[in-house]
Symmetry: C2
Subunit: 423 residues, 2 copies
């Protein structure tokens, strides 16, 4: 029965029951972690062949000795594998080291110090720089903006992308210089930006001539079902709309090969790439080309990437199904929570009764289940409704995961009952 | 005979002779490159064992699965190997990816945006930021400062370090926020900052409370003779003088293992390291830990690094000897040029008659020998005397190197004779 249909006494009795269960869980001395979207050891094992590559042959397909200096753009043979995934011509793809976050950071720093090819002045010389932040979103995106004093404007994120009416209004402000988007299987909601929404974002007039969409396609090939969602072709759409420099596209193999030792990619218009490389060339002589060679030898082709992702799916999909099953069993009947059942990506987004997310996370922590802090998926860590909880099912073993979600469900019920009784 | 002792006719006859030799060289269709301090393939081969490491065992000595996310500071077991070389306590050493230049870049960016722990405001909010640049120096250091609008003040570099009287005068200006130094076997002169000079730099009062010495110890263990010069202990000296936050020390394995796939290091005071990590953590979740593990397994210990460097020396020292021998044979008698015979590092610095370096490099280029552009070793690419030429002997084979230095010598003689006759 839903809470609404329960009497105070019935709620009190449910609370007592859950509190008793909670004390038992506390006594179990659990130590579980659902905080970060980390691949599990079993997933990492899939790419263990990398650990002995490239072996004797260190020369890439174009004849470059990968051991020596140079090659700022990254190895062509690796960029060829990922260009189709990024939907960017290979000449406009840069391959870097192990963190696409670093490429995002550097793109922002270069824009702040030097302006983009379309800027009238460096962003840092504007009175203010603002970014549209679809939320819930990726906490590290928001931390980057905060680090550099860029004002964040949260915008509601629907299943098919950010709220367009709000975005259209906001971009009338010339200080609004850009927006974040995780187009496919967004973190944490699993939302997918539709081709129609992407087309509007590509075409819309913006007061800032140097408006940028930072299109972090972190989960481009990270499907959880047979349905392999294709990311909207944001570069093609922007070119067609006469805004070729608008999108900057990022990807990485952090959740394809090794999170701690992958390769990352940035793709954009020819002008933007030339601009990026001109500044990057002051920072480094080139990326780790041996690791890039290692990756191209191991992945072999775009198809090789997809085949590897099928093996990840075989490990991950049952975990996501287990989360959904437990949440359904424990919470559905009470009508107090809703959650996503994403078709890809790394997260389940759980919404609990307004004002109780912090309490749920506090309770879970005290029972040994670490959750991402409440509000983390929102700019400035501020979830205005204090209701969103991000669940990262990938790292724990199936047993640990099941236990953690049971604990979490208990905590959701306790917090909801406490709140209901306090009213 | 020196040029001074020659008649005009004798100089003309020497010029004719060298021009004839030059035309023959031009006809040979050479394509040689002395521009960059790149390790030769033979040197890279020394570390080929890295190419199949770490193999099956991806867990570091402290139990970390290096394949996964995390570990911003870098692997302890690798930092332990390099801490003694950097003369910094291991807790104050950060290990990064394949480019120490990137760590220097990021340190500057963080100071510009946020200020250092000792800054009253971000450097970027000062009316001007100036850096002392001992010259000749490393061109990429200067390009970094130029990239971020930091004013460069060249200071003469002596055999034992920068000219102290000038430095002492300059640091009375609060806008002078720092200085570059390559303390050991400086690029390109091979100069070594003496303990006495380092002590003065550590102790001197500076108007800026946040004055920084960017101590790029790129050639710390890169000896060319039996005499293993020990770098001055800049951190110890600064601590003793009450300026613990003054030095920021950098190193890398670019010229120890693989230039295109090494690891790099940053070390400083505990405060500076905490500051650096706090900002770095917004840019990345961690460095490539598998590559760090690969390096710690292959190098094994600080002694392992020194043993490897002995093998580099066996390849490099004969090349430096050949350069000195040819320059001596071709140029010494004319008294028109001087050059360094460094005890370590990667470069020979050649000074030709004032006003002729550009002409020498132009002539060499037209004969198929690429040299670093004239002035490259000076801030803004401006060698006020147009006399300095940087020679990088490491990459070419011994035969190619000998040919290139013969060509260069011919060009030096031609340019000197032309100038002499034009006066």
């Amino acid at each position: 029965m839903t809470f609404d249909a329960l009497t105070r006494d019935q709620i009190q009795s449910l609370l007592d029951e859950q509190n008793a269960a909670y004390r038992t869980l506390q006594d179990a001395g659990l130590k579980l972690d659902l905080t970060r979207g980390k691949p599990s050891p079993e997933q990492l094992d899939l790419s263990n062949d990398l650990l002995a590559l490239p072996g004797d042959d260190f020369v890439d397909a174009s004849g470059i000795d990968t051991r020596n200096y140079g090659g700022l753009t990254g190895l062509l043979e690796l960029r060829e594998i990922f260009a189709p995934i990024m939907q960017v011509p290979v000449e406009q793809v840069v391959a870097g080291d192990n963190a696409s976050l670093a490429m995002m950071h550097d793109s922002l720093v270069f824009a702040l110090f030097h302006g983009t090819p379309d800027s009238e002045r460096p962003w840092g010389q504007e009175d203010a720089v603002k970014f549209i932040c679809p939320a819930p979103g990726y906490d590290r995106h928001f931390h980057l903006l905060e680090e550099y004093g860029i004002e964040m404007i949260p915008v509601a994120l629907h299943d098919d992308g950010p709220d367009l009416a709000t975005v259209r209004e906001l971009v009338k402000d010339p200080e609004v210089k850009g927006m974040w988007l995780v187009p496919t299987y967004g973190n944490p909601t699993g939302s997918v930006v539709s081709e129609a929404v992407a087309a509007e974002l590509a075409a819309m007039e913006t007061a800032a001539p140097d408006f940028r969409i930072l299109w972090d396609n972190a989960y481009a090939v990270h499907h959880l079902t047979e349905q392999q969602t294709k990311t909207a072709d944001i570069l093609g759409l922007c070119v067609a709309s006469g805004h070729p420099n608008r999108p900057v596209i990022f990807a990485s193999t952090s959740k394809i090969t090794f999170a701690g030792s992958g390769v990352c990619f940035m793709g954009s218009s020819a002008d933007n790439v030339a601009w990026y490389l001109s500044h990057l060339g002051k920072r480094t002589i080139g990326p780790d080309k041996v690791n890039q060679l290692r990756h191209s030898r191991w992945l072999r082709s775009t198809e090789g990437v997809h085949a590897l992702m099928d093996r990840h799916r075989a490990i991950l999909a049952p975990k996501f199904e287990a989360v959904a099953e437990i949440l359904r069993t424990r919470l559905a009947e009470h009508g107090i929570a809703s959650w996503t059942e994403p078709k890809g990506g790394y997260f389940v987004s759980l919404d609990v009764p307004d004002g109780t997310a912090s309490r749920v996370i506090e309770l879970a922590g005290a029972a040994g289940v670490a959750m991402t802090p409440a509000g983390a998926a929102f700019p400035y860590g501020d979830d205005p409704r204090d209701r969103n909880i991000r669940i990262a099912p990938s790292y724990p073993s199936p047993d640990e995961l099941a236990t953690a979600i049971e604990v979490l469900s208990t905590c959701v019920l306790i917090a909801a009952a406490e709140q209901s009784l306090a009213q």
